[in-house]
């Protein structure tokens, strides 16, 4: 390699780079509003990513069929980052620059959200309702950042307090995924215990993707826990319950909203009977559904040839919040106007059984509460209202 050639290359490259234009401005072009999402359709949380995307698509398709928002259609552009922040950064830049996304909804996974959020808000785009427990998604207050997922720490504190006061547990333990999700849950459980003058008797962790939790369950059993909180997702929840039942340990377990899914009882069967869970949005069961929900389920089945789950409802709800805010903003839609309108919005409970979401100029976190459910006869049954 001769260095003059390398120098020539870098000189050429810098010349090319210097022709760079400024980032495209946040604007609604013509009769279309572009909404971007950096999702996970092929990575570790694709289980969530696909139904969330489908739920959003369904809401936007319905809106477009009805004529759009003040005559504008909404186009959802989905990028798959597979939980990889490097891919996510490029995907976010594509959505900002090429697709001129007006807003980002439901970006998925903490590394992805943390890596892309500065790019998005620096470009003057809305960063709405990301799937991440990180407080930076709504604190400190930022004019373009809004979150509506109840923080694990807040609702697990309330759930732990409630379980201790109603069931009288004395030895609470924790099984947690060793990432930001697990740590957030741990803080909430510790706060809930502290409110009852107690501490965690035992805690043990696993790495994401682990399938064998036998050593962790053995350790918790050896600690004589009478109540185990699970900071797990679906597969690990089933594995933990199945292992406990296999060794004949009939301990009560409570899983976070990440394990509150129909897949938990579909995969776990008998082994997960009696499992408690926190729900931030009810699962859409066809059996016993109200008429509006039943019609929605039918439409979803017809559109995607699949059964909807809680994540589909979540995607649909997030898109609906966007649509309703855009409608309330009026025909002169700008990022600034949308954000200020959202700050005055209150979304009351709907036919899905969602909590009410409320944003104010001082608080961009729309909900802090979850409710308790339990698996009974092979399905989740809600056993409390939203816990304050």
């Amino acid at each position: 390699m001769r260095f003059p050639s390398v120098l020539r290359f870098f000189r050429g490259a810098l010349l090319a780079l210097s022709a760079a234009a400024l980032p495209a401005a946040a604007e609604v072009v013509g009769d279309e509003i572009v909404v971007g999402t950096v999702s996970d359709l092929s990575g570790p949380i694709a289980l969530l990513g696909v139904p969330v995307r489908d739920g959003m698509l369904m809401r936007f398709d319905e809106l477009n069929a009805a004529g759009g928002v003040h005559g504008r259609k909404i186009r959802l552009v989905v990028e798959d980052a597979g939980y990889d922040p490097k891919r996510a950064v490029l995907a976010a830049r594509k959505l900002v620059q090429r697709d001129r996304a007006f807003a980002f909804i439901a970006n998925m996974g903490t590394p992805v959200v943390m890596a892309t959020m500065p790019i998005i808000v620096d470009a003057g785009r809305l960063h709405l309702f990301p799937f991440s427990p990180h407080r930076a998604t709504y604190e400190p207050l930022h004019p373009l950042k809004f979150q509506n997922f109840a923080p694990y720490q807040d609702y697990m504190e309330a759930a732990t307090r409630h379980m201790l006061s109603t069931q009288g547990y004395e030895r609470t333990c924790l099984l947690y995924q060793d990432d930001d999700y697990g740590l957030e849950v741990m803080k909430g459980v510790e706060k809930g215990l502290a409110a009852n003058g107690r501490e965690l008797v035992e805690r043990t962790s696993y790495k994401r993707g682990a399938t064998d939790l036998s050593s962790q369950i053995a350790r918790l059993r050896a600690a004589r826990c009478d109540f185990v909180v699970l900071a797990t997702v679906v597969r690990e929840t089933v594995a933990a319950m199945a292992e406990a039942r296999k060794i004949g340990w009939e301990v009560d377990m409570l899983v976070t909203a990440s394990g509150y899914s129909a897949q938990t009882h579909e995969l776990g069967g008998e082994a997960v009977e009696g499992l408690y869970g926190v729900s931030v949005l009810p699962h859409p069961y066809a059996e016993g559904a109200n008429s509006q929900l039943a019609a929605w389920i039918e439409r979803y089945r017809a559109r995607f040839k699949a059964e909807p789950n809680v994540w589909s409802v979540m995607g649909y709800t997030l898109a609906d919040l966007f649509v309703r805010t855009a409608e309330a903003t009026g025909p002169a839609l700008t990022v600034e106007a949308f954000a200020r309108t959202l700050e005055g919005m209150e979304f009351t409970r709907d036919y899905f059984g969602s909590p009410s979401y409320r944003f104010t100029p001082q608080d961009h976190l729309g909900n802090r509460y979850g409710r308790l459910a339990q698996i009974r006869n092979g399905r989740w049954e809600l056993i409390t209202d939203y816990l304050q």
Partner: protein, 331 residues
């Protein structure tokens, strides 16, 4: 030991700068400047890490399966130092040093192990580093990850993609110069001697264990340097980002580009970073639900990789086995 003639420029290296400029110009035209410059930043950063793999795997012939751990050490060293008030530019060499130290540690089993067994030990090293970063919560904030500010020099902040690309390309240029010189030195010849025949190299007075360690130190320093830049460009680091998938990605990068040539790192980075994005853009043109099919990019990317491996088994920058023998390799 006679001087290796392979330092004459192979065609792949001559074409590389033009290919990169062309790709960048096309991306700018098609996708917008900010997007293209963001890609250029990551291509250059990946290429620096890829140079580390080229040194360890392509030059010294060692199986390194945990390169991402060395990138992680650089990234965390940079984040911690900058967080402690050290200027980012001054922290860069220390990030490289952290990677070099990690490389030295990872190479220790090479004194007793060889081949795949040693490869397994580097895999274990990567797992240990990832776990250690999680456990060192008071400093690293554990699995919750830590935010890293923009790269800055004397009050100038590399906040725009143009500035970030310029910094990355400048560091890549310096790394290429350093590697080029190293490969022409006795160290480079010793690496290749150990790679080609360890026993013969030892008979000629080369100490294989020390030579392997040198390769790992240099490879680790390059990976650490890439990690230090990566921390600034991504702005948020967490241990899970530097898992085995990233290690295999870097290994794939070197083999696609050509593990035996420095230019291979840049070619490989170009493929690894740019092709998935091009696929994402082309995917948008597909009709209806096809454009939104889960995992479509991965399938198409896999097909591209298979095609590259079949058509260019020695990598994009690699010549045929015969030309390698005739001209030596390395540059």
């Amino acid at each position: 030991m006679s001087r290796v003639r392979g330092v004459a420029r192979p065609a792949a290296l001559r074409l590389l700068p033009w290919a990169l400029v062309l790709a960048l110009a096309m991306a700018m035209l098609a996708l917008g400047a900010d997007y293209a410059l963001g890609k250029a930043t990551l291509v250059a950063t990946y290429a620096i890490a890829g140079l580390g793999v080229v040194i360890v795997v392509g030059q010294a012939g060692q199986i390194g399966l945990g390169q991402a751990a060395l990138v992680a050490l650089g990234a965390y060293a940079q984040a911690l130092l900058v967080g402690a008030g050290v200027p980012p530019l001054a922290a860069l060499p220390l990030g490289a040093l952290a990677g070099a130290l990690g490389g030295a540690l990872a190479s220790l089993p090479a004194r007793r192990l060889g081949g795949l067994y040693f490869g397994m030990s580097t895999l274990a090293f990567a797992l240990i580093v990832e776990e250690a970063l999680v456990r060192a919560e008071p400093w690293t904030q554990g699995a919750a990850g830590m935010a890293v500010g923009a790269f800055a020099v004397l009050g100038w902040r590399a906040a725009s993609t143009l500035e970030q690309a310029a910094v990355s390309l400048a560091v890549l240029a310096l790394a290429l110069v350093a590697c080029h010189r190293l490969l022409r030195s006795r160290h480079g010849r010793a690496w290749r001697a150990v790679r080609d025949d360890e026993v013969a190299a030892a008979a000629c007075g080369v100490a294989p264990a020390a030579v392997k360690m040198q390769a790992f130190i240099v490879g680790g320093a390059l990976s650490g340097l890439a990690g230090a830049l990566y921390a600034h460009w991504i702005g948020f680091i967490s241990p899970e980002q530097f898992g085995l998938v990233f290690s295999f990605e870097l290994l794939m990068l070197a083999f696609i580009g050509g593990a035996r040539r420095l230019a291979g790192a840049a070619w490989g980075a170009l493929v690894i970073v740019v092709i998935p994005q091009l696929i994402a853009v082309l995917r948008d043109q597909l009709p209806g639900d096809w454009a939104r099919a889960a995992g479509l990019e991965l399938v198409l990317f896999g097909a591209v990789i298979v095609a590259v491996v079949l058509l260019r088994p020695a990598g994009l920058a690699g010549g045929s086995a015969r030309s390698d023998a005739a001209h030596g390799d390395g540059a």
